[in-house]
């Protein structure tokens, strides 16, 4: 088996797709170019992305043909002295963007969240996910001039397992048993237990490949599309186009990208509207209208799978009663939350954590509607009607204050008194999250459904938010990691989502959209990767300046 799910659609090789792309560059239309290969019929089969060159079709988006040149400034919502160019330590959007600016991973997500070859030219597993072989691309050099070798990959991946690194993905890296070079081009990765989704894990920003033995990351010495000219934590970074970039026939286009952090949202929007920056992230639904109404700037809203969820601890009173938990899920007026709190920038969710539009989303579950009467009878059954229960909300969990207020109102209709307990954002995650019977959490998008479910729903997971234990779920999750048949795997994910929807201790009312604002002279912004704003942090390679 080769390249995960992609086998089903990967009918042409990266080399062929490059051929198609070059032909198009020379003035052929896509259809003509495909005819060149005698596979014109494929165009009808939804050829969304050609393997090997993500974003190759950027030229078709109405932004004209990409061209080289231009310099932009980007403002992210958060930047502090903790900013880092060490991919393993990345903590905020600006860190992730810089990781994708200066480095590459072995794999890279396309617009369907399928991992495509990147620094690895190809990859395969010999035993359904236990042992993997990645073949490295030839002729790739770091910005320092050093060639990419298997030793760099061994170093980059194994350092996550060392507690002294302080890696943000240490728990994910624990499944890696060993990484070793087979010869001067191939790397073997052995996992503790099989995981068919390893290529997706290697596509996240933390897993970028750094040069062997690097201890000071301040120079951003990677193989990525841009070279780091300047980096001052908490102030700014300047990236210049890497003209020796290994990928042919695509970006990077821009001459220069300057990145700064502007924590104040209205200051960030003002900077965009006044033309001081050309791209910003983290715009709230409340302010998106200001950008839409302006001349020369636009918003891009991406459903990323980010959610704020009601956490009901199954090991504490009164949330241990299944009827209580079900009642709370019926008390969400999801349409109202979407319309009023999010101003429509989101999507109604159904207490299942896998977002629509991502692989493995199960659409067969009936939508749970707002039903205070049903909630009232469930509460009565649990002997909890008329009870007074504290509900912890905080600005740390986005929109939890608004959601708490709506819940409070609908709960009173069902004969339940919710006492809102507002706590500050500072220290929320270490002191309040998962510690109260009834509170809120906020879960950022995860690259694969398996990571999401493993980190937040597996009985033994440290962030099993509600303390939920379900043996059947655990078995399904472990088994799905080594299930070679895609249809069977899909069914397993459907069963797991049904279990969470029916019995789980969390309520997910809506998925939140990530909203970016950009100068309309920035080309290529149509590309969407449903993992987060700023093109899932990967925009630098794919955008150009129309001037």
């Amino acid at each position: 088996m080769k390249c995960d799910d992609n086998c089903e659609t990967q009918l042409i090789s990266p080399q062929q797709s490059q051929l198609v792309y070059r032909a198009m560059q020379n003035g052929l239309s896509r259809r003509e170019a495909l005819k060149l290969l005698g596979i014109g019929g494929l165009a009808a089969a939804g050829l969304g992305s050609l393997p090997g060159i993500p974003g190759a079709y950027a030229g078709e988006t109405g932004d004209g043909t990409p061209r080289k040149g231009g310099s932009i400034r980007v403002a992210a919502h958060s930047s502090s002295t903790m900013d880092t160019l060490d991919p393993a330590l990345g903590d905020t959007a600006i860190d992730y963007v810089r990781a994708f600016t200066f480095y590459n991973g072995l794999t890279q997500f396309d617009e369907k969240l399928t991992p495509q070859p990147c620094l690895a030219e190809s990859f395969e597993t010999t035993d359904n996910g236990g042992r993997w072989v990645f073949t490295l691309r030839q002729g790739v050099t770091f910005h320092s001039g050093k060639s990419l070798t298997p030793q760099d990959v061994v170093f980059s991946l194994m350092r996550h397992k060392d507690p002294d690194t302080g890696s943000k993905v240490m728990s994910m890296a624990e499944q890696i048993d060993s990484v070793r070079a087979i010869d001067d081009r191939r790397v073997e990765i052995n996992l503790v237990s099989p995981n068919i989704e390893l290529p997706s894990i290697l596509a996240v920003s933390h897993m970028m490949i750094v040069a062997e033995g690097t201890s000071d990351f301040a120079s951003g010495n990677g193989t990525g599309p841009f070279v780091c000219q300047q980096f001052t934590p908490g102030v700014r970074s300047v990236a210049l186009r890497n003209d020796n970039y290994w990928r042919e026939g695509g970006g990077p286009w821009l001459d220069r990208i300057e990145m700064v952090g502007i924590s104040d949202e209205s200051a960030r929007i003002n900077a965009l509207l006044s033309g001081d920056v050309q791209l910003i992230n983290s715009v709230s639904g409340r302010n998106a209208g200001r950008i839409e109404q302006s001349q020369g700037s636009a918003i891009k809203s991406v459903n990323s799978g980010n959610y704020t969820d009601l956490v009901m601890r199954v090991d504490q009173q009164p949330t241990s009663a299944p009827e209580f938990r079900e009642a709370m899920k019926y008390l969400f007026d999801r349409d109202q939350i979407l319309r009023v709190a999010l101003r429509g920038y989101g999507e109604v969710a159904n207490d299942q954590p896998v977002a629509p539009g991502t692989p493995y989303y199960f659409d067969g579950l009936a939508q749970r509607e707002y039903d205070p009467d049903r909630a009232a009878s469930l509460l009565k059954k649990a002997g909890l009607d008329g009870a007074r229960v504290p509900l912890v909300v905080s600005p740390a969990a986005s929109y939890s204050e608004e959601m708490g207020q709506f819940l409070q109102q609908s709960a009173s209709r069902a004969g339940l008194q919710l006492a809102l307990n507002r706590v500050p954002a500072d220290g929320y995650w270490s002191n309040h999250w998962m510690k109260h019977p009834l509170g809120f959490g906020n879960i950022n998008p995860r690259p694969t459904a398996n990571i999401l479910l493993s980190q937040f729903f597996l009985s033994s997971a440290p962030w099993n938010e509600s303390g939920w234990h379900n043996e059947k779920f655990d078995q399904l999750l472990i088994a799905s990691r080594s299930e070679p048949d895609a249809a069977t795997r899909r069914q397993m994910y459907a069963d797991m989502q049904t279990l969470i929807h029916d019995e789980g201790g969390i309520g997910i009312p809506v998925f939140l959209s990530d909203i970016d604002g950009y100068d309309t002279r920035l080309g290529g912004m149509q590309r969407t990767v449903p993992l987060g704003g700023l093109m899932a942090y990967m925009f630098p390679e794919f955008v150009w300046w129309k001037g």
Partner: protein, 318 residues
Amino acid sequence: MRHTLAVLVLSRLASSLVTLFLVSLVIFAITALLPGDTAQQILGQFATPEQVAALRVQLGLDHPALIRYWHWLSGFVTGDLGQSASNGVPVAQLLAARLPNSLILAAVTTAISVPLALVMGMVAAMRRGGTTDRVLNLVTLSMVALPEFLVATLAVLLFAVKLGWLPALSYVANVESFTDFLKIYTMPVLTLCFVLVAQMARMTRAALIDQLDSAYVEMARLKGVPPMRRVLRHALPNAVGPIANAVALSLSYLIGGVIIVETIFNYPGIAGLMVDAVSNRDLALVQACAMLFCGAYLLLVMLADLCAILSNPRLRNR
């Protein structure tokens, strides 16, 4: 006289040291009381207890609080400000990158606001009760009442977004010509002047009026001394004490308290550094910033007192 002045300066310096020591203790205690520690802040929402424990050992957070304080203090006394826990960069280097920005902003603002405030205060005092005084009174009162975030935001909306004359952000790195300098500093300085001028002008007016009401000025007036000379030669030297104190307070605010202006204009100054440090529980950096602000405050107040003494013959010759 020299002797008494030296004694005064020395005793003030000694008491400043004690104050700094006490402040460092208080800051340490408060930082320790904040929920969460550096390790938790660095690792964020999704840290496992093992990771936090490992990082705590690495950062030396597993030692008792008193020992950690002693480590910091013994380093500080020998001039070693320590390392920032959140990114491993020496604190001195972080301060060196930001302090010049804060000092430039403070210097430009001072150069504009102090003369302006003094003139406004003097004119208001001389025209007491007249239309000029009333107008100035109204203006300064409204300036005091307007919060600086409002002034800054309105200025950005008007000059940057609507008119497009000035950049919405301050990039100190891009200053290449005097025009750049003007573009970058106009709005932050304007905003800060709004707050400071009003306070200083009102203090100047009050201090001068106090003197103008006194018997010796009355005497000067009866002798036929012209109004300008009465104010500048007779009243002003006696009002220097309170005015100098008002100026000192405003300046100490400029060094550490301009967080709102730094945030809105994205100006990389030292107040933002301290806010970062507190939210990251970065003790060495918090302490260094606190010592800096506190030291600057004590120094400025001492200078103001010296001004008052030197300008007052009665105190000077005592």
